[in-house]
Subunit: 356 residues, 2 copies
DNA sequence: GCGAGGATTGTGAGCGGTCACAACACGGCC
DNA sequence: GGCCGTGTTGTGACCGCTCACAATCCTCGC
């Protein structure tokens, strides 16, 4: 079945009813019988405007349907209420949710938000420069390698904040940033599994956001720490990718090993793939194997078995990142301490005690 | 387990290395010993500039790190290479994927993209005016009521294109728009189910994008037509929502009725919820009941049973919508005929013949 | 050797706002 | 009545770029 898409041109070629160009501040001034500066005062509500004058101007504004030209305002004032989000992905749950939270906060503050997707193909510096040229500030989503690289290259004179996977180890971060403590969360999840009686926990990793630094990926790190603290040698992590396919691939290998009874996954998509692989291999969840995801994507509670996972407050992350940026843009704005809901282990059906 | 989020301020309070304000066209002119207009000519590559002059100017541009100020350019030229997407959602798969396709096309064409989320709370007209004030054009994602309403209210003098659920019945649409023929797709999916031997097919609907118009929702319409053509009286559609929870709620009711053996869902999330409800009711899929989704979200093939669904080319939809807008913005750009991949029924594990 | 005409370059104005400052009005004070 | 301070309004310049047009330079043909 192939049915093609359709287009409609939108009626007869654009007779365009009212093609008047929009009223300017001077048009309003003329209509109200005042100078353009007075109009400017009214729209910025300066205190010193006689009440009656103000009323006249406001009427003129109303009747002409005047709206201040954002471009001209930006040029003259140097203020651009704009955030551009740099991200390598817009569809994956973590990214999309962060973006959503950010957009909401930005909208509430009267900012408009732009999105610019990062790809390995195009020149990072050029991309950043273009985004920065829009005025306003940047928020970089640095969950992955590409985003982290972009963050490193933002020129120091452009306002910028970031949502990252983890703080850069040791050195003070180059930029204001927010993150959730998923190292601790991963550790707790692993301990939970251990507490259930599983002799060890295997880890299906998401790609690291930093180079090959040892101390990198916090989720992996938390998992490792928990195992070591329990006196267990961490098995080699697997996984190479973000999506369910990658999870499936990793899961196939793990499923073949009868000693594998507990698997922690770097995100819910991976977990979904793992679940699938386990199913194909005839191993039951949670009977034979327990699986934990990460992120708590909306559908995770509806799959069968419902996925035990770590809920992360991506929306809050996006909101906070915006606040951090706003703090740089508006001198009199003091960003609130980020109030993220902490990571939370959501126990559902994919985990169970080891029936030894 | 509650672990809080973290922030880092980004080192000592912004010593801001090179706080020079960026070079302007006149700075470059001075450095190159020419007039600012010549610089303007170079950056717009006008033909009549002596080769040697051009070279000198280019060197000056390079050494000063000049980049044309986008705001000033927009103000002076009246050209804003900007698309603002109006959408009520950014996370649901159909929306996110459309946005993704659009962003990609826009980026390739040198446009920057803005996103503005529509909510029932804030004033539609004001929102639209704000978005339009950014210059550039609008693309409205009109899959739902809110989006469709927004589309209707975009003033006729602002360039705008739309991705919609279906063409407005009868009357020529107010705006250039793209859509996929999901009516036909729904019909084919229903016929497939009927062909499998199911006496009837139940439908779990997504919320309609138009008012209470009879001819509205194309997916529902296709389903209805297929049933009627087969001489079956369509059972009342259920469902009120977009997400898995809504699917689950609808699914519970359906699961209780032993006569229900085939269910078509308005999207994959609903299908997921339905699957879950069926599972809870102890009815097997596809043994007892067959389920078909709509959209083919990335995870649908990894759930168990893998979901039979209708794949829709949202990315193509986004790309085409952008093309349509671009056609209005650039007089010499002729948008290509949209080349969407047609809807396609992807048969997986959630459907099977009726074992009568 | 000189004028025509195209190639090159420069000047002025303006996009639609803002800022800084000057000008004018008014009332109260001595 | 003159002076001052405050409230109110208007003028000029400018943000960084584009447009339209004028000015200058060449090169060519006769």
């Amino acid at each position: 079945m192939v049915v093609t898409g359709h287009t409609s041109s939108g009626g007869p070629a654009a007779p365009q009813g009212s093609q008047h160009k929009p009223a300017s501040i001077r048009d309003v001034a003329q209509a109200a019988g005042v100078s353009y500066q007075t109009v400017s005062r009214v729209i910025n509500d300066h205190p010193n405007v006689k009440e009656e004058t103000r009323r006249r101007v406001e009427e003129a504004i109303e009747s002409l349907g005047f709206r201040r030209n954002a471009t001209a305002f930006a040029l003259a004032s140097g203020v651009t209420k704009t955030v551009t989000v740099l991200t390598s992905n817009t569809v994956l749950y973590g990214y999309a949710a962060t973006l959503q939270g950010l957009e909401e906060a930005a909208r509430a503050a009267g900012y408009s938000v732009g999105v610019r997707v990062l790809t390995p193909e195009d020149d990072l510096d050029r991309t950043i420069a273009t985004a920065a040229a829009a005025g306003g500030g940047l928020v970089v989503i640095g969950f992955d390698r590409l985003g982290a690289a972009a963050l490193d290259r933002v020129p120091s004179n452009v306002p910028c904040a970031a949502a990252v996977e983890a703080p850069p180890p040791g050195r003070t971060p180059p930029r204001p940033a927010v993150w959730v403590d998923d190292r601790t969360a991963a550790r707790a999840a692993t301990e939970y599994l251990l507490g259930l009686g599983h002799p060890t926990v295997h880890y299906v990793a998401i790609p690291a956001s930093t180079g090959s630094r040892r101390s990198a990926a916090p989720r992996a790190e938390g998992w490792r720490q928990a195992l070591i603290a329990a006196g267990v040698t961490p098995p080699p992590p697997t996984g190479k990718g973000w999506d369910a396919q990658a999870g499936y691939d990793a899961g196939r290998k793990l499923a073949g090993d009868p000693d594998v009874t507990a698997i922690l996954c770097g995100n819910d998509d991976l977990a979904l793939g793992v679940l699938r692989a386990l199913h194909h291999a005839g191993r039951s969840v949670p009977g034979d194997v327990s699986v934990i995801g990460f992120d708590d994507a909306p559908h995770s509670q509806f799959i069968t078995p419902a996925l035990t996972t770590v809920r992360l407050d991506f929306q809050g992350l996006g909101r906070s990142a915006f606040g951090l940026l706003r703090g740089q843009l508006e001198s009199d704005y003091q960003p609130p301490e980020p109030t993220l809901v902490g990571p939370q282990l959501v126990r559902r059906e994919s985990t169970g005690s080891r029936e030894a």
